[in-house]
């Protein structure tokens, strides 16, 4: 069985770590409403600097694509010498104009860039002190989960979508009754359970876009990863679904380190505890959200957050 699941089952047995209660109440036929207004949500944030243990550490990370890059140069670096550290309990927002390497950097963190032929990585990435290069890629991706820009549930039922993530590779075991509490818990933590509880076996592709994206989040967090990577998770969604997912990100960061790539500066300000600004593959500025947006040190950052270019 998956080690993450064993750990999780032990956690259930311990009374001090109850599964997280539902995030919001939902009435069918009405848009889901965030339980708390934004200003109250603001108050719920842990004070700045109260971050958990370090989860990911990037040391001089560079990524280049072998073929002709978007910049037209052969082997141009998409990401150049980025060093960062990512802590549990905080949300790191990666911002920057298109083509600046933020998505490449994100995909490097769970070695998805390796699927691109010709992609090369330099530097070291440490997950809890272990070099991710030494981990098996499948094991790494179960610990560093990812949510994509476009909601991409599999063409199966809601239950099977989440269960697929929990099942060991292609094995059918563990069986449905054993998986059910884990699936329900994951859906609950993703704030989707109340909306789909009546029929977990309906096709996932029948859900709305926002629900599909929350299903993808449920699927990603079901194996209890340590880090959650999100690649513009709201850019294909409407404002209400976006609000629901942003609130969800707030809740999730209690157990996880979250890295979110976003084009939307307002969103980066709303959800980010730390913000990293990238430009043409370089990490230009890194700091708390307040510092990067209010008192940017680099002139480039100042121009970007003020909307001078983008």
């Amino acid at each position: 069985m998956n080690p993450a699941m064993i750990e999780f089952e032990q956690a259930i047995e311990r009374p001090d770590r109850q599964p997280v209660p539902p995030v919001r109440t939902i009435v069918l036929d009405r848009p889901p409403e965030p339980v708390r207004p934004p200003e109250q949500r603001e108050a719920l944030r842990p004070a700045a600097g109260v971050a958990g243990p370090e989860r990911l550490r990037l040391e001089d990370v560079s990524v280049s694509y072998g073929g002709t890059s978007t910049l037209g140069r052969r082997g141009a670096n998409a990401v150049r010498s980025v060093s960062l550290s990512i802590h549990q309990g905080e949300v790191l927002a990666l911002i920057g104009p298109s083509g600046c390497g933020k998505t490449t950097l994100l995909r490097t963190l769970n070695r998805l860039t390796e699927l691109t032929p010709g992609a090369r990585r330099g530097g070291r990435i440490l997950l809890d002190g272990e070099d991710i290069h030494d981990l098996e890629d499948t094991a790494l991706r179960a610990r560093v989960a990812m949510v994509f820009q476009q909601p991409n549930p599999f063409p199966m039922s809601i239950f099977d979508n989440v269960a697929f993530a929990l099942r060991e590779q292609s094995r059918r075991r563990p069986r449905r009754p054993e998986l059910e509490p884990l699936v329900i818990d994951a859906l609950r933590r993703a704030g989707l359970y109340d909306e789909v509880a009546d029929d977990l076996h309906r096709p996932a592709l029948r859900l709305s876009g926002g629900q599909q994206q929350r299903l993808c989040i449920a699927r990603a967090i079901a194996p209890r990863p340590e880090v959650l990577l999100m690649d513009e998770p709201c850019s294909a969604l409407d404002p209400i679904s976006t609000g629901v997912i942003e609130e969800l990100i707030h809740e999730l960061r209690r157990d996880l380190a979250v890295v979110i790539v976003t084009h939307n500066l307002a969103q980066a300000r709303r959800v980010g505890d730390k913000v990293a600004f990238m430009y043409l593959g370089d990490l230009v500025e890194y700091g708390t959200a307040g510092q990067v947006f209010e008192e940017p040190r680099a002139p480039r950052t100042r121009d970007y957050v003020r909307g001078a270019f983008g």
């Binding site: 699927l115 499948t138 991706r141 599999f154 590779q169 096709p203 592709l205 993808c216 699927r219 679904s241």
Partner: protein
């Protein structure tokens, strides 16, 4: 999503813009339109004529006794029995052919789309399958005959009285039939896989799944309907084929599993037989037996099979589109 009260939308009014009426068309455009209509209608008429003629003749001569009785040798038509054996032969051939072709075609399509390395080999495989699809079935039949008369394959077919290997049996014919059924299955599955969006694979990889787990649990289920479509098309190819039956199945009157002794199943597979197509040919005025009424009845049954299979293909395609909203290419089948 943001508004939950639907606004009454402005309906398009019926009036058309200037110049879009057919009366203002140029003569050449009009002629082409006319030719297109004429061609389409002619085709429909030809198909309708075949179906109606065969239907009338078939219903006229078809009787349950004909379907459920064995054929027999006889001088008068009343003595030659029905076509139970050719009917069973057709079904058995289709089963053997698909049992060989489907795994081969699905695996090669999976390899081609999901692995695709080395590049040159994928091109070789694709053109090889295109060549097989384009090869006349009589050529495939003779290649099969040459192959199965080798001593290496003596166990596949009947051994004649003089010790000569006939190379004719259900196994031999079924193996060559699989070549005919393979291209449509391959093309259908390949198109289906190419239609699965790349982000579906990426999502599985990002969940820490291996490539093989992704194929088994995500990709193969997504192309299930393509597999069904391809298999159905393959079956209709097999049951429509005559040359391979005549050359490789022996075109004998009856299926006689007992004649070869030993295990009943192996005896059946090693034995010879006939199919509806060869039965129609033999009983038509062009053939030897000359019982055109029975040929009509058998041809009608055959036609019904093919029509049913075509209907099934259409159904599967539509069910696919309805079931999931997950679009994968069903078109583009040879």
């Amino acid at each position: 999503m943001s508004t939950f009260v639907s606004q009454p939308s402005a309906r398009p009014t019926g009036t058309r813009g200037r110049g879009s009426s057919i009366r203002t068309w140029r003569l050449s455009d009009f002629l082409v339109l006319l030719a297109a209509w004429a061609a389409g209608l002619t085709l429909c008429l030809v198909v309708a004529a075949v179906v109606i003629y065969m239907g009338v003749r078939g219903i006229q001569y078809l009787s349950p006794a004909l379907i459920f009785s064995h054929p027999a040798a006889g001088l008068a038509q009343s003595q030659t029995g029905g076509f139970l054996d050719p009917l069973l032969g057709t079904l058995l051939l289709a089963a053997i052919g698909i049992a060989i072709a489907a795994p081969l075609a699905i695996c090669s399509a999976l390899w081609l789309v999901e692995y695709g390395r080395p590049r040159w080999l994928t091109r070789v495989v694709e053109s090889a399958i295109e060549i097989v699809a384009g090869t006349p079935d009589i050529v495939i039949a003779f290649v099969g005959l040459a192959l199965f008369q080798l001593h290496l394959f003596a166990w596949v077919s009947e051994v004649g009285e003089g010790g000569g290997i006939t190379g004719k049996s259900f196994l031999a014919a079924g193996a060559m039939m699989s070549l005919i059924a393979l291209p449509p299955i391959f093309v259908s599955v390949r198109n289906g896989l190419q239609g699965v969006p790349a982000h579906m694979r990426e999502a599985a990889f990002a969940l820490g799944k291996t490539r093989i787990a992704t194929i088994r649990r995500v990709l193969v289920p997504s192309v299930r309907t393509n597999i069904a479509t391809g298999v159905t098309l393959g079956i209709s190819r097999i049951i429509a084929d005559t040359a391979i039956v005549v050359v490789l199945l022996g075109d004998t009157l009856r299926i006689e599993p007992e004649a070869h002794g030993g295990l009943p199943v192996l005896g059946l597979l090693k034995g010879t037989g006939s199919s509806l197509t060869s039965y129609v040919y033999d009983n038509s005025p062009a053939g030897e037996s000359g019982a055109p009424q029975k040929a009509y009845a058998a041809a009608f049954v055959l036609l019904m099979f093919v029509l049913l299979l075509n209907l099934l293909v259409e159904r599967i395609g539509r069910a696919q589109a309805r079931a999931s909203g997950f679009v994968s290419a069903v078109e583009g089948i040879v």
